[in-house]
Amino acid sequence: MASVTSASERRGIPAAPFVHDVQSFLTQSSYDASTALVALQDRLQQYKLAEMKLLAQRRDLQAKIPDIKKCVEIVDTLLAKKGTGETMKVDFELAEGIYSRAQIPEADSVCLWLGANVMLEYPLEEARSLLQSNLENATASLKSIIEDMQFLRDQVTVTEVTIARVYNFDVHQRRKLRNQAKEEEES
């Protein structure tokens, strides 16, 4: 009988039921072998699509996280300098490969680019806590996506194994029927 090994669904990805016995799986779902194969192949395609989406999301997060870490460090440096009253001289990127110098007098606030053409000015403490929570969210999302991908890979394996077994079963059936027909002819 077909049974389910783990959670029946994970964040929109349906689990692939592990088939213990191909014959009962086919009679239970009232598919014949070729329809079952088509349905399973379809499932496989959906899994592959989901895997590509997750891959893209993981890549984006992996790019964002070091950037957020850098921002946090810089805000920490600014916070540390805040009491001293000295002006910082910085070289900033004017264009790719060209840097120019600027002076930063005591900074009480920083401007954060939030995306979608929105930039907000925050006092230093608030900026730091915002960046820190962004970093934590991003790290948690990354972890969750990696777990999703592992789950997905398991389902892909299970589905591929099922396809192979249904195909073999079908070949076996046809051979049996052919042999039976031959015996009836001879007898």
Binding site: I98, I104, C111
Partner: protein, 156 residues
């Protein structure tokens, strides 16, 4: 000279068999795609330097002491004051940065753009030659395959 070499190549191609033609075609196609990638990356690099030249031009319109938002990372800006309009740091590769005057920086960008454009044009020419060779090879290949299948049909 190019025409003579092309007709010489055409003779050689006609002597090859079908399998060899297919191998040659694959090789030429691979070389062509590598050349096209190179042309693309040269174009990207040239664009980068053009943007840098624009930025330098903008900088020349500013004055020291001008208020500005200093980008400390891609999403973090701090209000500050422009310190130096006369000198810029130029990234010359392998971790080296050279301080140059604004005029020298402009000159550097212009030189790079010219150099890249010259290479780009040369590469485009080579890529076109390769494309012609690829077309010739595939034409001869198709003709051979047609004559092969016609010959088989006659025999059958």
């Amino acid at each position: 000279m190019a025409a003579a070499s092309r007709s010489g190549v055409a003779e050689e191609i006609a002597k090859l068999s079908v399998e060899q033609l297919q191998a040659v075609k694959e090789q030429v196609d691979a070389e062509l795609s590598v050349l096209q990638d190179s042309v693309g990356s040269i174009r990207t690099a040239a664009n980068r330097f053009e943007m840098a030249a624009n930025a330098l031009h903008n900088l020349s319109l500013q004055k020291t002491g001008q208020q500005m938002l200093v980008p400390l990372t891609a999403s973090l800006y701090v209000p500050g004051v422009l310190d130096n309009v006369d000198n810029v740091l130029v990234d010359v590769g392998t971790g080296y940065y050279i301080e140059k005057s604004l005029a020298d920086g402009n000159d550097y960008c212009d030189r790079k753009i010219k150099f890249l454009k010259a290479n780009h044009d040369k590469l485009v020419e080579v890529a076109n030659d390769k494309r012609n060779t690829a077309e010739q090879v595939s034409l001869v290949l198709q003709a051979k395959m047609r004559s092969l299948s016609a010959g088989e049909q006659q025999r059958a």
